[in-house]
Amino acid sequence: MKHQVLGWVFGGLVMVAQAVAAAPKVSDPWVPEMPPGAHAYGAFMVLDNSGDEAVSLIRAEAPGFAKIELHESVDIDGMHRMIEKDEIVIPAQGQTRLAPGGYHIMLIGPEKRLVEGDTVPLTLTFSDGTVIEVDAMVRKREQMMQHRHGHH
């Protein structure tokens, strides 16, 4: 009986380990320092999916904001617009970048202005049930943009 229970526990652990292996991964989370007077801002990161099926970011939460939404910035005929998304898809064995001018987590109505050195604790929920908590560093936008271009 004891062994059977251990077997269940062990089996359960193996299943959890497999699920973790295919879970989405979050890297380089950051939030640009807010200009004084800004009321809405983006959080950016890289999302990887090593699994064989597409998975989506479906919700983002963080303390200190009135509202958080998922958005995509798009340019249509020289007009720029934001489109609210129900989900941001990471393709199977693929990557989706949340970056200025594209996908972002929109942080609306901050309780206080975020400056370089602050962190935003984000809780990200994915369509496969995975929940990931990450601390997004607040950085100067320009440094990050130059950093990004430096890799091109």
Partner: protein, 222 residues
């Protein structure tokens, strides 16, 4: 070959001037100089060989009311339409403009210049609020707005469109919240107040600044 023709034309002009005392060989006009400017890439910069006259409107800045014509007169202006509630693209574009400003200062360019941010959201962007916002990016940026119809008239005259995204309207944390779809190009206004070129998005400061400088050097002198 080209040099020889220039010499021939020059000689003909000289002879013409001497014999007829006419000024038929005057300097090319700004329109002709713009038409002669070879843009390296129209996705980076589009010169307007037929310059556009912006509407004369009354604007408001932190220093008070001002006429748009006075704002543009005597300086090369990079004009951008945005709003401070803009979550992503405006701060990104403003970062590009601050890099342009820094490069122009480092290069000690001979021409006078300024960067103007026009808020298309006068309902929420007061001149004071706007001023704090734009100066965070660079001290050289001027923030202006105005009565809605004045801002609209200016934007329309330089072919910039914007509209409130009604679907985004709501109240968030006691704040009026809505997003605005808007044009993201940088418009170049010459010191005579006319729009002479457009830098369409996406923008890279390192790519657009040399084009801006060479255009002004080639087209600007009169």
């Amino acid at each position: 070959m080209l040099v020889r023709w220039v010499k021939v034309i020059g000689l003909a002009c000289g002879v013409g001037l001497l014999t007829l005392s006419i000024t038929g060989c005057s300097e090319p006009t700004m329109e002709e100089r713009i038409a002669g400017f070879q843009t390296p890439d129209i996705l980076v910069f589009r010169p307007l060989s037929e310059p556009i006259q912006p509407a004369d409107v009354q604007l408001a800045s932190v220093d008070g009311k001002l006429e748009s014509a006075d704002l543009f007169e005597g300086k090369w202006t990079l004009l951008y339409f945005g709003y401070t509630y803009c979550p992503d693209v405006c701060p990104t574009e403003m970062s590009v403009l601050s890099q342009v400003a820094r490069t122009l200062r480092e290069n000690k360019v001979a021409f006078p210049w300024q960067i103007v941010f026009v808020s298309v959201d006068p309902d929420r962007d007061t001149p004071e609020h706007l001023d704090t916002y734009v100066r965070y990016f660079d001290e050289a940026v001027q923030g202006v707005t105005g009565e809605p119809e004045q801002v609209r008239a200016l934007a329309t005259s330089v072919r910039a469109d914007y509209r409130i995204d009604e679907a985004s309207r709501g109240e968030v944390g006691g704040l009026k919240f809505y997003l605005i779809d808007h044009d993201t190009a940088f418009r170049l206004i010459a010191p005579d107040g006319r729009m002479v070129g457009v830098f369409p998005s996406p923008h890279r400061a390192s790519v657009m600044t040399p084009v801006l400088e060479s255009f002004i050097e080639e087209v600007g002198q009169s």
